[in-house]
């Protein structure tokens, strides 16, 4: 913000203060249940509503709980694979829809909405029936196929939104300057859509790692994911062990983000557009 701007708009700082306050409030809202979750993972009593004492016991139990560890592993494998595949395919199809006219364009766009519209329970039941008809044994593979099938839309929709209204002139300028299609993409389009792609990838990872309904239909022997495992534990009675595993996962992701932030801090920012 230049001096010129600051002088012209005294209300800007009040705006900024309000927006900052609102953002803090939203973060508080987002993390309130998380705080509860973490605090109660140290609760001595089995019933989560009453606080009886501080203990690390549940964490100790957790590390011996092979079922949970296997479920965490399964979830990460599925979510990572799904994110990679859907981000690639979804970005590609978003580009095709935005930049080209081709046969089946409208149908593809409409088809991409279906996974978001059709209720998960129907998707799950449909996939189970399909796998049965196709004689595909249920397992981690069927879970990944199911996740990819219904997550691809999320990436496509978010990247489409990013592409829409993107200034074509930059790409045209690159073409005028003699850049081939691939070069123009790599050096102009991709950086411009990257925040959208990342947002889409984050969305898919989130959806996949916590999906219960569809996964419950298509999981088989040894392919229990974390949401399935937690659900089965909650059904019997909420033990703080479940809170403990969530806290640990949270810690792991926070550490990952902190590392990424360190890297980012040294080299610049996420935005692909120079601030003028």
């Amino acid at each position: 913000m230049t001096d010129h701007q600051r002088r012209l708009r005294p209300s800007f700082s009040r705006q900024r203060a309000l927006l900052t306050a609102h953002s803090w409030a939203v973060y508080l809202f987002l993390y309130a249940p998380i705080a509860i979750l973490v605090v109660y993972s140290f609760n001595e009593g089995r019933q989560t509503a009453i606080w009886t004492g501080f203990t690390f016991d549940w964490y100790a139990h957790l590390l011996e709980n092979e079922l949970i560890l296997r479920a965490v592993k399964n979830s990460l494998v599925v979510a990572t694979t799904t994110t990679v595949v859907t981000t690639l395919a979804g970005t590609m199809v978003a580009l095709a829809l935005a930049r080209f006219r081709f046969l089946g364009r409208a149908a593809t766009q409409a088809a991409l909405y279906l996974p978001v519209i059709v209720p998960e329970v129907v998707i799950g039941a449909a996939l189970l029936t399909f796998f049965g008809v196709a004689r595909l044994r249920l397992g981690l593979g069927t879970v990944v196929v199911a996740h990819v099938a219904f997550c691809i839309s999320y990436v496509a929709i978010v990247v489409r939104a990013r592409l829409a209204g993107l200034d074509r002139s930059l790409e045209e300028a690159a073409a005028d300057l003699g850049a081939g299609a691939w070069d123009a993409f790599r050096r102009v389009t991709l950086p411009l859509i990257l925040p959208g792609v990342v947002a889409g990838a984050l969305l898919v990872f989130t959806v996949s790692i916590d999906d219960y309904v569809v996964t419950s239909f298509v999981a088989g022997v040894g392919s229990t994911t974390l949401p399935l495992q937690i659900y089965s534990m909650l059904k019997v009675g909420v033990t703080p062990e479940v809170n403990a595993v969530s806290t640990l996962l949270l810690l792991a992701t926070v550490v990952l983000i902190a590392v990424a932030q360190r890297l980012q801090g040294r080299q610049g920012g996420l935005s692909g557009v120079e601030e003028t």
Binding site: R9, S11, L19, T20, V26, Y27, Y31, A32, P33, I36, L37, Y40, A49, A89, M92, V93, A96, L97, F100, R101, F102, G104, T108, Q109, A111, L112, Y113, P115, V121, V122, A125, F130, V148, I152, I157, A164, G165, A181, L192, P195, A199, G200, L202, L203, T206, D210, Y212, Y231, L234, V238, S246, L249, T253, V254, I257, A260, Q264, G268, S271, V273
Partner: protein
């Protein structure tokens, strides 16, 4: 334009779309088609599908529409209306809550922190949805965190009934859908050209005016994407109303879930689900037509 590059470009389009075609076609549309077929069948005595001996007679008699007919009875219409209403309110609330924070992270935050702040929005959703919802139950209980704080601060004299009602369901739904609104908004806001905003100001537009006449239209694609990603899944939600609502409300999601999981009436459940799908697709098509007429190319581009 010469033919060869144009053809190469079209080939490029097909190549780009191919993986999605394979995935969607094989793993999604085919299963869905099977389900659609089932929606015209009837439930057998123990929850299977009644085999149809004479297909022609079955179709001619109109029986194949039995499930669809049943789904239009008053009991069920009431459920659809309630779900629609709840989804609209949830989406509106999400939008109002998300826009400022998306704006803050995309426009006002220092570039170094953008990625982190965005990730911080999403991280809570990498923990189990179920546990988070249970945590909300702990917060909203009569003796829970919310009431304790309110009582301590003297804002209320007696504990409020915050759980097992529509209020709790609303909180749960907004909470569950928030990142699906924030992320698309962020993607759109992030590429906002700030110089346009300054230009607006230089020309004498106030802040509110600038916001509604420049910012919002420019970020319409993100808004539309966010609305799609929040409104539609809200219609199919059932866990929140089961836990936070005390399972005392039946939304479309509960209804469908019930048919599949308990009543074992897949055909009826499938019929309702496909009706829901058709209605939403019609809404999308109507909005696309409206946007086209408004000349709002950007949002039309998102939809078509």
């Amino acid at each position: 334009m010469p033919d060869a590059p144009a053809q190469r470009r079209r080939l490029g389009a097909y190549l780009l779309a191919l993986p999605t075609w394979v995935i969607l076609g094989g793993a999604f549309l085919v299963p869905l088609a099977i389900m659609l077929g089932l929606s015209f069948a009837q439930r057998s005595t123990y929850g299977g599908i009644q085999p149809v001996d004479d297909l022609a007679a079955y179709v001619a008699s109109g029986n194949f529409l039995a499930n669809y007919a049943r789904s239009l009875e008053p009991t069920y219409l009431q459920i659809y209306w309630r779900s629609l209403w709840l989804a609209v309110v949830t989406t509106a609330l999400c939008l109002v809550v998300s826009y400022p924070i998306a704006y803050f992270v995309a426009v006002l935050a220092p570039r170094r922190w953008k990625g982190t702040l965005l990730a911080l929005v999403v991280i809570p959703f990498w923990t189990s949805f179920l546990i988070r919802t249970y945590a909300w139950m702990l917060i909203l209980r009569t003796e829970g965190l919310a009431n304790t704080v309110l009582l301590k601060l003297g804002l209320v004299q007696a504990p409020l009934s915050l759980l097992y009602n529509d209020f709790a369901v609303m909180i749960g739904l907004v909470y569950a859908e928030l990142p699906f609104m924030i992320l698309p908004l962020f993607a759109s806001l992030e590429k906002l050209d700030r110089s346009l905003l300054e230009a607006g100001n230089d020309l004498g537009a106030g802040d509110v005016s600038t916001f509604f006449r420049i910012t919002v239209p420019l970020t319409m694609p993100g808004i539309v994407a966010g609305i799609l990603l929040v409104f539609i899944p809200s219609l199919g939600q059932f866990v929140v109303s089961d836990l936070l609502g005390g399972a005392k409300t039946v939304l479309v999601g509960n209804l469908i879930q019930n048919q599949f999981a308990v009543a074992r009436n897949k055909p009826f459940g499938a019929a309702i689900a496909f009706e829901l799908t058709v209605v939403v697709l019609l809404l999308l098509w109507a909005y696309a037509a409206y946007a086209r007429r408004q000349g709002n190319g950007a949002s039309r581009e998102v939809l078509l």
